[in-house]
Symmetry: C2
Subunit: 470 residues, 2 copies
Amino acid sequence: MSGTAAIIGGGVIGGGWAARFALMGWEVWVFDPDPEAERKIAAVMANAERALPMLYEAPMPPRGAIRFVSTIAEAVAGADWVQESVPERLDLKLKIYRDIVSHASSEAVIGSSTSGFRPSQLQEGLPDASRIVVAHPFNPVYLLPLIELVPGVKTAPEAVDKAKEILTGIGMYPLHVRAEIDAHIADRFLEAVWREALWLVKDGIATTEEIDNAIRYGFGLRWAQMGLFETYRIAGGEAGMRHFLEQFGPCLTWPWTRLTDVPEFNDDLVDLIAGQSDEQSGHRTIRELERQRDDNLVAILHALKGREAAAGKLVLDHDALLRGPLGDGVPLVTVRRTVPVDWTDVNGHMNEGRYGQVFSDASEELMTHVGADRAYIDAGNSYFTAETNIKYLAETLAAEKFFVETRVTLGAGKKLRLWHEMKREADGETLATCDQFLLHVSLETRRSCPPLAHVAEAVERLAAAHGAQS
Amino acid sequence: MSGTAAIIGGGVIGGGWAARFALMGWEVWVFDPDPEAERKIAAVMANAERALPMLYEAPMPPRGAIRFVSTIAEAVAGADWVQESVPERLDLKLKIYRDIVSHASSEAVIGSSTSGFRPSQLQEGLPDASRIVVAHPFNPVYLLPLIELVPGVKTAPEAVDKAKEILTGIGMYPLHVRAEIDAHIADRFLEAVWREALWLVKDGIATTEEIDNAIRYGFGLRWAQMGLFETYRIAGGEAGMRHFLEQFGPCLTWPWTRLTDVPEFNDDLVDLIAGQSDEQSGHRTIRELERQRDDNLVAILHALKGREAAAGKLVLDHDALLRGPLGDGVPLVTVRRTVPVDWTDVNGHMNEGRYGQVFSDASEELMTHVGADRAYIDAGNSYFTAETNIKYLAETLAAEKFFVETRVTLGAGKKLRLWHEMKREADGETLATCDQFLLHVSLETRRSCPPLAHVAEAVERLAAAHGAQS
């Protein structure tokens, strides 16, 4: 499902929304009075179009255009989704909402990226506030799936349902927040941590870099995959959460929980932190840091996708949504995707092992096509690869798009032989070929056996259509 | 470097220390009066010996034994490192430290796993407290690298240096904390977040599961790789940290930062949280959750290792420490490692693409052996694989140990041909073979060219020794 999105307010957050919508096939209209908005959003889009497609095995939808207009009225006319990401000033936001609701369709969802305001605050004094929700994203918006979706007192339930459907469709995870509070959920944690971090730096306990290391070498790794409570549940052992609470509850009142004042925010503190941060990261440009962050996030999300866990499971599910059935062409196009950054090696190109993975994916697609799908495998049957011969004809680079054409060159009894050609999307050049020989097996005995009848027939049909030897 | 470690207090944390030391080749002596200690540590060790070796490409050192003794005196005699992980009661700890210092070598480092106490508190009233430091780990101790290393007022500088050396040697990251405060650094953040989380659950804003999702689908992913300040530096854009601070500093005093009271910790709150946690995770045993956590952590650490980023960079550096030069045997053993969990596929075994990666790693080791190492590649020369023929002879499962024997079957001019046999460590069965043909290339022109003289000679020498065709 795709549609038209209006982005009110560019910048890093608005640009992230624009990029995600456009890459998921939506037409995007941007309003931002900043003369630099077009340049800024282009920079976000350059990062996004490199990173986001790397998460998917499915082909991405045809990209929507991003267009810039000079009034809110033009931007929101015909929009299915309006996203406001202007600075955190309530008077400014209220003025803009009056403009939005008088020009947007009464069917459009109107989302706010606000980190702090409650949706009911944004709904005040409007003739129709029923479509307004908080849809609070996390930077980089084009990679992180979380959206805190918060309805206000005047929000219609249908607007919430529609918002969930649209957000899921563009690969996000709408977390429906049960009650409105300032700063929703995640930013309350971020604020608590930020306050503690400022004290630690101010008091000379740790530098900005030491604090970053304390997070990313320790609990940050836990939180990327399980969050807080499930992690602590494990710490409680077999006795479960209750035991953990009883063990650690009392330390809530220990002295080290009392440092909850707000440190005075003055020039000295800004100098101290900015100076340490410059020393830590100042040798790299923001563009380099963004690229590094995105590469790391792609690699982590990819890793979790392989585990079918945490945010990786969300990507996996979205991948299935994007994926259509294979056509009936000869040859079959079994894979169409982008090379993710974690597939490259010291030579700066796709590692030879990843070609094997690509051709493995191609044969898995073909298996699904002939009925040897996940259910067939779960029932105890599969094909195992017995031999491959791969010729590496041209280098393949990170972020390059490619596709694989597959022919069945032998399909008789237990034997299945496939011929794959991997080609660059841009010019059709053949990057590699693979002659792959598979045997049908029982997953119980782990020995070869004939396929079930419907699979055998489908394989034979394909083999005949592809002009295979018999 | 390895040695002897004394573990005072088993349980999840002490067991994690015991497992990490033993897997890194240390002899381990455990004292814990709990009659269940041996069973509990065996359970931790079962998880650890599955997960930790998956992080490394280098062969693991020969494993040290874990032995149980009935007195502290027996445990600490001859220990290079004594680690105390008893419950968080100061009187108990002080009693134990008196016992430890009167029996341990004056050269031993004595580390405490305490989350809350300052090292100077632990040093009170002892005849010699100069070797005592806080060495605060994070669960699971066998996977997470962070150690908060905090010296007390009586700690000798040499003890800190020795502690750093030993911790680095077992793959940990000693974060030398500049000043003693209650709860060091990371737990101050954890406590702040925990307090906020209790409020959110108590006030009905979010359930335990929703809070976990708010973390792991959003900022948890950021924190696993960059931590707090570098992430925010990016948010500040080209103007850097100062701009971020100026933009977000004021909201420190907004109303949503005031919720810093400690919620009353009573039965109602315990029931509420334990009930929600049971609903969220109660269908899985602690063992299953631990396995899932460890698999996720291995996959994330692996992904970051490939990026040479964050905690993955630590693993990479430790891997290099563990790795020795290849011998001079015929054939050469080029790879000796464990199958990580993220290498398996829907058939429950190692994916065919990963065989390609293994043989790619084998040829990279051989390249290093003949002088075509990282410096050679950085100077613009390398070998590219042109063709591989892989025969898959037996299934390979996650956590299985294997090695690869490599022969040079052709080494003349630009051409290099290798024959790899991948064998299971347990019984020597051949799992797969690979006939691999490589061409020497210039990384500037990306075309084939002869290798530099020293590499050409080394290749020819090996080819002759391996009885290659000429």
